[in-house]
């Protein structure tokens, strides 16, 4: 099913790093969302969504990150996105203001350090 998008999961302490490689459209978004949500435990503090190697997303990807943000907020968990500026997903997200609601970082290291988000510059 998810030939288009592959989800990789990695854990560093109380942080889950979920990487999505490939393309997100509404044929795979639900599947990708489910895999990410399943990976986050109650005691985890932070989810970092690494979209460095995401080459395309449509509005299904926007719904996906807003839904994730809402769920994590309910559980008082932090949510950060890693996304290089000038990529197609970055442009898509910035048009509808994802960066205003979810901190976006350019690299994993910056996201881990929790420094200044790219969208807050």
């Amino acid at each position: 099913m998810t030939e288009l998008a592959n989800v990789s999961l990695e854990r560093a302490g109380d942080t889950v790093i979920a990487g999505v490689v490939g393309e997100i459209d509404f044929s795979v978004a639900d599947d990708v969302a489910r895999r990410i949500i399943e990976s986050v435990e109650n005691e985890d503090a932070t989810l970092i969504l690494d979209l460095t190697r995401l080459s395309y997303t449509d509005s299904a990807g926007i719904n996906l990150v807003f839904d994730l943000a809402a769920r994590l907020r309910e559980h008082r968990q932090m949510f950060k996105i890693v996304l290089p500026v000038d990529s197609q997903p970055w442009r898509t997200f910035s048009i509808v203001g994802v960066d205003g609601e979810i901190p976006i970082f350019e690299t994993i290291e910056q996201a881990k350090a929790g420094g200044e988000a790219a969208g807050e510059r």
């Binding site: 288009l4 393309e23 459209d25 509404f26 044929s27 395309y56 449509d58 509005s59 299904a60 926007i62 719904n63 807003f66 000038d86 197609q88 442009r91 898509t92 048009i95 509808v96």
Partner: protein, 533 residues
């Protein structure tokens, strides 16, 4: 004397027996078994004491004893007779029957014939289409005068035996080649939208000619199309097995490493640990997802030919890297050839151009001209056939040849796509648009058009139809630097509350204009955007 009638009858009987020599019962035998059976019958028919077959080894121009009756030592000792020398050598050289009434050391080279006490000999060439395959001879231990009749009989046998042998040898060679090909050459070339591919492997003409040439074409995980052409020096199974090792290692590295130079550097380092001492030239490169360039690294391999708008040229390769395993481990240089719709790329091995009496430069020049003349071929298969007939002709090549031809389809000027209204078809829409918008490179403008079209199609899929589904029709035209996209469905808009309507925001932000027309007959969305071309 009443013997003439008897002789006629005898002759008729002998002839019947000759015709049995290559009858159906022998059809399934291997070349060795066929020769054995043949000699038993020949000895009987001609009432001889010995019979032997020597086959020509083209590589050394010698006759090699392959089967014998009454002279088994000849085969066991692997007797080799130079063509032109001695009894058998003379038959092969002159292509005529030779009769020796009294054997002595002047007319027979082979000591075994003398030691065995063979007194009289008759031999004829094994000919197929005027080509000497070998020699068959019979002998007697008592002196005998071989007659014209005997010569004719043996020639008849030789004719049939040569044909049967030729077919079997050819079949066996073909089987070996096919086995190797099925192991090392790709079963099928990948199907990549916008690309047309063809390839060919031609084994060399000699029976040992299966060489170390190979090609490979596959799609790496990033979506790039990988092309490989390589040549392991030497022939035979050893060269082929070296080729197999390198081919498999390359495939493994190509999945891990993105850059061709990196793949090549890793392969180079692998030569010593694998114990490969042969000279290996290799070219490995990838065509990017947008089909706009070929990035490659070359280990001493001949340069690819690029055809653009009727002009064939060699890819410029400065700083030629040496063949693999030359010793000093070094970083390989990466070269880039820009590609455009309609252009072609040919990778090949040196067997395609090397002629004994010709310099490499002349060979390359002939290749360039042949490729240019194949430019108008309707498809890559036909183009390869044109190139091969110009350079190789009908003859089997003296060295093996591998070649891969890649053609980029002409850029479509418009897009017309009908998809089923299911989410899984959205990727089809993106693929078609990427190809159509290839002229815009990998620009944000192109991304915007593709994203907006995807949203319009997703809306139609999500909102237009019930569980029965339906169709979505996408058309795109380019006019005067403006792209116009139309997405139509025949459904009735059903507003859903499950998702937020980011789609329309994206379409409006990414396109210059968006017009939506909803009617009872369906919805049509027309979007325009200026693109710099």
């Amino acid at each position: 004397m009443q013997s003439s009638n008897v002789t006629d009858q005898e002759a008729a009987e002998r002839l019947r027996r000759v015709l049995r020599v290559t009858d159906v019962a022998l059809a399934h035998l291997s070349p060795e078994a066929l020769l054995d059976e043949l000699l038993i019958r020949v000895r009987e028919i001609l009432d001889a004491d010995t019979a032997a077959v020597l086959l020509l080894d083209e590589a050394t121009d010698e006759l090699v004893a392959r089967a014998a009756k009454g002279l088994e030592e000849e085969v066991e000792q692997g007797v080799r007779i130079p063509v032109g020398k001695g009894f058998a050598g003379r038959i092969a050289a002159d292509r005529t029957p030779v009769i020796i009434r009294r054997v002595d050391h002047r007319n027979v080279l082979n000591p075994i014939l003398r030691e065995k006490g063979v007194r009289s000999l008759l031999g004829v060439p094994l000919l197929v289409h005027g080509r000497v395959l070998g020699v068959i001879h019979v002998g007697t231990l008592t002196e005998r005068v071989f007659t014209e009749n005997d010569v004719e009989l043996l020639q008849l046998v030789a004719e049939r035996a040569a044909l049967a042998l030729h077919v079997r040898m050819y079949e066996r060679e073909r089987m070996m080649t096919e086995t190797l090909q099925s192991v090392f050459l790709p079963e099928a070339l990948p199907n990549v939208p916008g690309l047309r591919l063809a390839s060919r492997y031609l084994p060399a003409s000699t029976s040992a000619g299966i060489g170390g040439d190979w090609y490979d074409v596959f799609v790496v995980p990033s979506g790039e199309v990988a092309l490989v052409i390589g040549d392991v020096a030497g022939h035979g199974l050893h060269a082929a097995s070296v080729m197999g090792k390198i081919r498999n290692a390359l495939r493994a590295y190509a999945v891990e490493a993105a850059a061709p130079s990196e793949v090549m550097t890793r392969l180079d380092r692998l030569m010593k640990p694998l114990g490969i001492e042969e000279l290996v030239t290799l070219l490995y490169g990838v065509v990017d997802v947008g089909l706009s360039s070929f990035r490659f690294a070359s280990a001493g391999h001949l340069p690819p030919v690029v055809v653009t708008r009727d002009r064939a040229r060699f890819a410029e390769v400065e700083d030629v890297d040496p063949p693999l395993g030359i010793g000093r481990s070094h970083a390989f240089t990466e070269h880039v050839v820009p590609l455009e719709p309609g252009s072609s790329l040919l990778l090949y091995t040196d067997g395609l151009i090397e002629r004994r009496e010709e310099s490499l430069t002349d060979g390359l020049d002939r290749l360039r001209k042949a490729v240019a003349s194949a430019w108008h071929a309707p498809d890559p298969e036909a183009a390869i056939a044109t190139v091969l007939s110009a350079l190789v002709g009908d003859e089997r090549p003296s060295d093996d040849i591998a070649l891969v031809l890649l053609q980029l389809e002409q850029e479509p000027t418009s897009v017309d796509l009908r998809i089923r209204a299911v989410p899984g078809e959205l990727v089809t829409v993106r693929r078609a648009l990427r190809r159509w918008l290839a002229f815009a490179g990998t620009s944000p403008i192109r991304d915007d058009v593709i994203t907006a079209a995807g949203e319009a199609c997703a809306n139609a899929i999500e909102h237009a139809y019930g569980p029965d589904g339906g169709w979505v029709h996408l058309t795109g035209i380019r006019d005067d630097g403006t792209v116009e996209l139309t997405v139509r469905d025949a459904g009735r808009w059903r507003e859903r509350v499950t998702r937020r309507g980011f789609g329309l925001s994206l379409m409006q932000a990414m396109m210059d204009s968006v017009e939506i027309d909803r009617s009872s007959a369906g919805t049509s969305v027309v979007m325009r955007k200026a693109v710099a071309s």
